[in-house]
Amino acid sequence: MKCSEFLTELTSYLDGVLDEKTKVELENHLSWCHNCYVVCDTTKKTIEIYRDSQLYELPDDLRGRLRSAIMTKCQQQKKRGPQTA
């Protein structure tokens, strides 16, 4: 496998959806190509860091206010009758 082929397969590899044969070829490539190993490892870390980051969590007080506003508006809309999209 060449480095460009590794890059094409990287997303499927990280998502765990690569077929067995290609996976073995890719892992063989990673065993000797340090640059691709680093790209693979740091891309995986990138995904993990974002996934675990709890970026933009909705605070409980704001959440309550938003939900109450949504339900009030929904009920107003219901009284007005069906709307068009």
Binding site: L7, L10, T11, S12, L14, D15, N35, V38, V39, D41, T42, T43, K45, T46, I47, I49, Y50, R51, S53, Q54, L55, Y56, E57, L58, L62, R63, L66, R67, A69, I70, M71, K73, C74, Q75, Q77, K78, P82, Q83, A85
Partner: protein
């Protein structure tokens, strides 16, 4: 004769019972949460507002995260949450139940969020198709390895600021695909359906988004050959300016 018949009936019924139980277990495992969601959707369609409120409770956090990732503005994200749920409520009867309700809701929320971006940046055309350049624009240029546990070099708030500024630097089309797939955990097919993109387009954008984020984060997380692995004084300044050590955090 009667005894034989009775035995056969018991064995047959026991077998049926086991199969029925197994089927029930499989169905609960496979479609439990989906059918629960569908039951809420159907109740809401019949006018049960408490069922709709349960759907809001279930997905408001996700919609808020997606909206803030796209708009990069908290007030806009709050508006998007309200408008997306209100639109879903008003158009619930048109929801055909051919996808998950959540995927349908995400599609509405993404459109609302993009509309906010367009209003805020009228000088720019904001769409999921913009900034899609050649296939080579995301090829790794920086290969340097990162420190072990690089995120631990920063406080929680510093790290959040770095992650926020870094993802802000991606074009909306890449940012949205990355958020739906890697942060919210939608499948490639669900992301394609929510964004009305083809599966290959989602895959291609996801790869480029991941590689671009990796490269941008690398400026903060790279292994330092000299010193203790921390970025020292420079890191606070870099976080505050928000442009990263190499200074290209802009869209």
């Amino acid at each position: 004769m009667t005894r034989v018949t009775l035995c056969v009936t018991i064995v047959f019924d026991t077998g049926k019972y086991c199969i029925a139980k197994r089927m029930e277990a499989i169905q609960n495992k496979l479609v439990g949460p989906v059918s629960e969601e569908l039951a809420l959707v159907r109740a809401a369609k019949e006018g049960d507002d408490s069922a709709f409120e349960e759907l809001v409770r279930r997905y408001d956090r996700n919609v808020f995260r997606i909206a803030q990732h796209i708009t990069q503005n908290r007030e806009d994200a709050e508006d998007v949450v309200q408008e997306a749920f209100l639109k879903a409520y008003g158009n619930l009867k048109q929801f055909q139940e051919q996808s998950k309700f959540y995927t349908w809701l995400v599609r509405i929320a993404v459109n609302e969020a993009l509309m906010k971006l367009r209003r805020r940046k009228p000088e720019r055309t904001v769409s999921l198709d913009e900034d899609i350049k050649t296939e080579d624009d995301s090829l790794p240029r920086e290969i340097a390895d990162w420190s072990p546990n690089p995120e631990q070099q920063y406080t929680q708030s510093e790290l959040r600021e770095i992650l926020s500024k870094t993802i802000q630097g991606l074009p909306p089309g890449f940012r949205t695909v990355f958020v739906l797939r890697d942060v919210e955990g939608l499948s490639t097919e669900e992301t394609a359906a929510a964004l009305e993109l083809s599966v290959p387009a989602v895959k291609s954008r996801l790869l480029r988004a991941r590689l671009q984020l990796r490269e941008r984060l690398g400026r903060y997380f790279q292994r330092r050959e000299n010193g203790n692995g921390k970025n020292g004084e420079a890191k606070s300044a870099d976080v505050k300016t928000g442009d990263g050590p190499s200074g290209d955090g802009n869209q």
